[in-house]
Structure formats: C-alpha cells, structure tokens
Subunit: 419 residues, 2 copies
C-alpha cells in the first residue's frame, strides 16, 4: 500500500470546504457551484496549497466527477426537448464560437501578440464549459426551461467545435499543413458520434437494462448504467469527440428507459461525492500569481470582455425567440476546463509564454466566477423572490446542491419535459 | 487532461464483472463477495489482464473502498455489543495470531526455509482480513450475532497485532535491534488509538453533526461523515495504527448520533461503487503463475492448512461460549490485504524469494476464497433453508450485496443491537 494519507486529507478538505462554502453561497442566494469553485481556489496552490490540481489520483477523481455530472444531466434531459431546440442551439453554438474567436484573435493581434499567440487566445475563448454552465442553470432551476435546453445543446455543440479548433490550432502550432479535408473529417466524426450513439443506443439499451434489472447484486442498476456511461465516454473519445459528450449521450439514451429513476437515484448519490471534486480541482488550478504582470492583466481584461460580449451576443442571434435572451447569453459565458486545456496545450508547446497563459487563465476564472451570480440575479429580478430557509425545492434528482431559489425562478413558459 | 480511457475501461469491467459474478454467487447460495473476488481474479494479470492491481488510481480507489467498507461496518455496529464481547474477542485475536504464527514458523523451518523466511511466512499468517471477513458475515446476515461481533472485534485486534509483528519482522529483516520496549510502545500506540479515538469522538462528534445537519448543500451529512472517516484514518496511521481501524472507529463513533441513518444511506450508495473495486483489486493481485513451482505448491499447501487450522482453533479457545464455535473459527480464516502486504514487504526487501512469495500468495488466495462458501454452508445446515428468489432480505443499510439467505441464517440467540 502506497501512502494514501495526502489523498485522504485532500478529499476531506474538499468535502468540508465545498459543503460549507456551497452552503454559504446558497445563503447569499447564489448557486452552490460558486461556493465549490471558490473552495477550490482557497485550497489550491495560490492560497492554502492543501490540494494539488495536478495530482494523478485527484485529477482522475475530478474527471470522473465531470463525467458523472454530464451523465446525470443527460439522464435528466429529454432528447426530444433538445431536438426541438436543435436549430436554435446550433445558431447559439456557431455565433458563440465565431464571435469570441474572431474578437479574441484581432484584439490579441492589436495588443501586439504574434499570429500564433493570437490564434491560441482566440481558440481558448470558444468553448463554453458545459459542466459549469449546466450546473449553474440547474442550481437555479433553469436547466429544463427552453433557455436551459438551448444552452445545453449549444454547449455540447461548441465543445465539439472547440475540439475541432483545438486539433487545428495544435496542428498549426506544430507547423503541420492543415487541409480543409482533415478539418471536415474531424468535424464530421465529432458531430456524427452523438447522433449515431444516441440512435443505436436507443435501440440496444432498453433490452439490456431489462436484464440488468434482474441482477440480485445491490446497486447493480445504477452502477451498470455508470459503466455504460464510462464506455460511451471512451467510445466518444475514440471517435474523435470528447469524453464528456459520450457521458452525456449515455444519459440521454437511458433517459428513455423505465429504469431511469432508480438509475438517477443511485448516480445522484455518487455525484454528491465526485462532482464537487471536479469544481474544487477547477478552482484549485487557478494560479492567482499569474495575474501579477500588468501587461498580462491588460490582455486578460480585454480577453475577458470579449469572452463575455462574444457569448452574450448569442442570445440576440436567435430569431423568433420569446424566451429570455439574457439568460441564454449569460449561461454561455463560463469557460472552464476546455479553455484551460487550450492554455495548457499552448504553454506546453511553447506557442504562448507565461504572460499569455496568465491572461487566458484570468479570462477563464473571470467568466467562470461571474456566471453563477449573474444568472442568479437574472432569475431573481424576473420573479418575486420569496426566500424559503427550509426550501426543499427540487427533488433529489437534482444533485449537487439544493437550490436556494426554487420559487424565485422565472415561470417556465414552455416546459418540454414529458412528465 | 491525461488519458482517462484505460481507467474508465477498467472501472466499467470491474462494475460489470463484480455485479454479474456477485449475482451468480448469490444464485448459488454464496455471498456476493466471493463473486467479486473471482471477478478480480478473472480480470487480473493471471487471466484477462484487463485490470492492473498496481495502477496508482485504481489502487487508490480500492483503498477508498476498503475504508468506506470499514466505515459502513462501524456505522452499523453498536459499540456496546463490541465491548460486551471484548474479552472473548481478545482471546480469539491472541490465539488467532499466536497459533498460526508459531505453526507457520516451525512448519516453514521444517520444510527447509531459513529463519528469516520462516519468520515472514509465520507473520503473513497472523492477520485476518477484516474486510473480507466482515463482508462475508454481513452477506449471510451474521455480522450482528455474538459470533459476528466477536470476529469483528478480534479481526480489529489482530490487525493491530499484525501491524506490530510487521514492524518487528521488518526491523529484523533490515538487521536492526528490536527491543522489548519498542515492541511494547508500538503495541500500546496501536491499541490506545482506538480507545482514545472512540472516547474523545463520542464526546466531540454529536454537537458537530448537529451543526452539519443544518448545511443546505445536498448530501452534506453523509459526505462530512465520510470526511470525518478519512481524517480518522489519517490520524490512526499517524498514531501507529492502521487506516482501516481509523475508518472503523469513525463509524463506531457516528453510530451513536441521531443522524446515523441518513449517513448510512448516503455512504451505502458510495459503497456500491467503491467496495467492489477493493475486492476486484484484491482478486486481481492474485498471480496464478506463482503456483507453477512444485516446491512452492508444497509450502503453500502446508501454510494454507496451518492458516486454516490455526484460526479454527480460535473458536475452541473460547470459554463459556454458547454460540457456534465453527462460525467464529471459519470467519477468522481469510487473510487478505495484510497477508499480501507481508509477502510484498518480504519480497521487496529480498527476505523471501519468488517461491516463498508464491506460497504465501497461495495461502492468502485459498483462505480468502474458502471462507465465504464455508460460512454460507455453516449457516445453511443450521437452519431450514427456504430459498427466496425475490428475497429483499435486509434493508438497504446492508450495502454491497443483497443477502441470498436471509431466512437461512441461524436464529440469533442474543442480539446485542439496541434497536
């Protein structure tokens, strides 16, 4: 047995800090995820240095956490409601990728960065963090609204587009030739996976889970479902898509099975443990030191503004939309793990220096931390906010946090859920 | 993000194999843990090579699994019933350490092994695997009987004694002087920890959990309890005891709180995921190749017989005991992780060669695999065995497996549980 002590201390610290700060966030009318992110920043290397975001075991647990979160979100999402908002989600995704990419590239170039640095900066601005966005929407009870479904669909799509951009930019940074054909192939593979997985899965999965249901081993149903999500994540990556997209697709497929509620119950309890680890590790990977350089601060500030404005535009890009455009735009703002991956790939390859890395990091932090309170403020101003301190709010299917303002949410105009 | 794929495949394989083989074991009237161990052997390097027991992340998850299992067992155990069997547990522990140690040492020496090899072989025979033992007893509904409580107490004590022996034998292997004083100090620290932890914990913990209960974050109660178990595990190790003892002590302390049932519900669901990983990894660390050498097979066979007889004697060492002596003796048989640790320490230090390592491994495998079916047979012959295929048996507080033979258990003569 190797030394488990530091891991146990880190996990205990994460549990205590995320639960206490999550509670405080909720008492101030904010989503719990904000408290969990702040808990991570506190515990990370910038401040207390209790957790190391690069620890192999901890980062694996965090990645299991984001997979479980996306699986839960998929389980909770009716595919038909996603399909119904499909074209709107596509518009939001394309605008939300193109506007920040172009804006980031030109602004960075104008601030004196080289072409490659500007490309990396623009690319890092593209992908909305689906985990943070969906979790913040769920915390305030807005995930099942048309706005929430558009954002969810768009965040999936822009993750896929972001991955395509990542592979193209990585190739350019490495000095390789990039052909239109290879870009089209990557795009097709990434988008095709979800369609294929969901179509095939919807046929093959129900009979399998009818058998699984008969297993006498306790917790079998939820865990076999989780194994399915893990396998779909692996397939997704193998197909050139992202693991989180595979986990989400697994949830979407299982949403249609009669065993869905028991699966949700099992998986939710696992999520209570794993999901906050993800947010704490995202928070802990923030390096506040990187913001000491004034030029990095300037570039970071400009990128942050472009990151916010570029995604806000998505709400107004929708035609014939009766919902809350602000809600869509704001929910698209957070960049999380994908932005950090761009920055890390850029730094590791030597394409960008520590200053640009710090600037991108600043944009990721700012856009991530600004979203939960902004969303919460948007929904609060739209409805009479009766604060209910005992608020049991949503049922326990909504994992990760008990929403503070279930009664403060905007009235759902068109609820696409089938129950 | 590093490559998560192999871990996800390993976890999916573990989930599917342990749930399916656990189900099969139960259909054959065996405890689910037997199926989980066999699943591990199948997936391990001897056969399918799908999981690597030495993978850092997987072994960390397995260790979290055994901590959660011991925490669950502690949560489920009334300290008063353990105290009531205290002196009997002590007798069982001492006999169960001394008899196999002496027998193993002399038999190994008679078979031509050197003094140090014989010492390692004897030491590896001492400690009952509390995880496997308690889990097998729980699977057949015997953990709360006087026999089960004696075995639980004795397994805790002989783990502590085993750790003392490990440190002494390691020191001798390393050529160090071993004084009576240092042995006494190690023993005192190890035993004192539990007493102190439980005493202090019982005073400090209830007011803390009264506050924790008011946290609005979902799952907070169960997870803060888990953080407490992790911290107790770290303290236990720092005090010279074992981590699993700390986790058990944490459970014993929380058993007395009003929040116990909600904590059990939360932790049980986590156990469904983590605990089978532990048993699968124990199974996967089995190297069937090590048994190809005839001399290793002979030594292994002799050690296995001594390992079985030495622990069976514990049942007959009890005075004025009206319970089932066979049940006590058989439940003490399995050696698991502690035996493997002895073998690994011996091999790594050069004290033993691959042959002796294989022999010890064989003893660990045989004693581990023989126990669940033997226990199950013992309880079945004692009672009318009405097999109930729908058997919902025990409540969901009993995690990890749904018992196959809840109605086939021996009538509990004296139930020390306080409810």
């Amino acid at each position: 047995m190797h030394d488990l002590g530091p891991l146990l201390l880190a996990l205990a610290a994460i549990i205590l800090a995320t639960k206490v700060l999550g509670d405080m966030a909720q008492r101030f009318g904010q989503p719990a995820v904000l408290g969990e992110l702040v808990a991570g920043v506190l515990l990370g290397k910038s401040l207390l240095s209790i957790i190391d975001a690069h620890d192999a075991v901890l980062s694996a647990l965090a990645e299991l956490g984001v997979l479980i979160l996306l699986f839960e979100i998929g389980l909770h999402t009716d595919l038909r409601s996603l399909r119904r908002v499909g074209s709107q989600a596509l518009v939001v995704a394309v605008v939300g990728v193109a506007a920040p990419f172009a804006g980031g590239y030109y602004a960075a170039a104008a601030l004196g960065l080289g072409t490659i640095q500007a490309l990396v900066a623009g690319a890092a601005l593209t992908a909305t963090s689906i985990g943070i966005s969906a979790r913040a929407l769920r915390d305030i009870g807005q995930l099942d609204t048309p706005e929430g479904q558009i954002v969810l669909g768009a965040a999936v799509l822009d993750d896929l587009l972001g991955l395509v951009i990542l592979s193209v930019v990585s190739a350019i940074v490495a000095g390789a030739e990039v052909s239109v054909l290879s870009v089209a192939r990557t795009t097709g593979l990434a988008l095709g996976f979800v369609a294929l997985a969901v179509t095939l899965g919807s046929m093959a999965v129900p009979p399998i889970f009818k058998v699984v249901e008969r297993l006498r081993t306790t917790g079998a149903l939820g865990l076999v479902a989780l194994a399915f999500a893990f396998l779909m994540a692996v397939f997704a990556e193998a197909a050139g898509s992202a693991m989180i997209v595979g986990a989400l697709a697994a949830g979407l497929v299982l949403h249609g099975t009669p065993q869905r509620h028991e699966i949700e119950r099992n998986v939710t309890q696992l999520g209570y443990f794993f999901v906050p680890i993800f947010f704490a590790v995202v928070g802990a990977s923030v390096d506040l030191q990187a913001l000491s350089d004034p030029r990095a601060l300037l570039v970071g500030g400009v990128l942050t503004i472009i990151g916010i404005v570029g995604k806000l535009m998505t709400g107004w890009s929708l035609r014939n939309f009766e919902g809350n455009r602000w809600l869509v735009g704001v929910a698209m703002i957070p960049r999380g793990e994908v932005g950090l991956i761009f920055a890390q790939v850029g730094l590791a390859s030597g394409a960008i220096a520590a200053g640009e890395f710090g600037a991108i990091m600043m944009m990721v932090i700012a856009t991530t931390l600004i979203t939960p309170p902004w969303l919460s403020a948007l929904t609060r101003t739209k409805a009479r906010n009766v604060f209910d301190p005992t608020g049991e709010g949503l049922d326990d299917l909504v994992a990760g946090s008990r929403p503070t303002t279930p009664r403060a949410t905007q009235p759902v105009k068109r609820n696409y859920k089938d129950e």
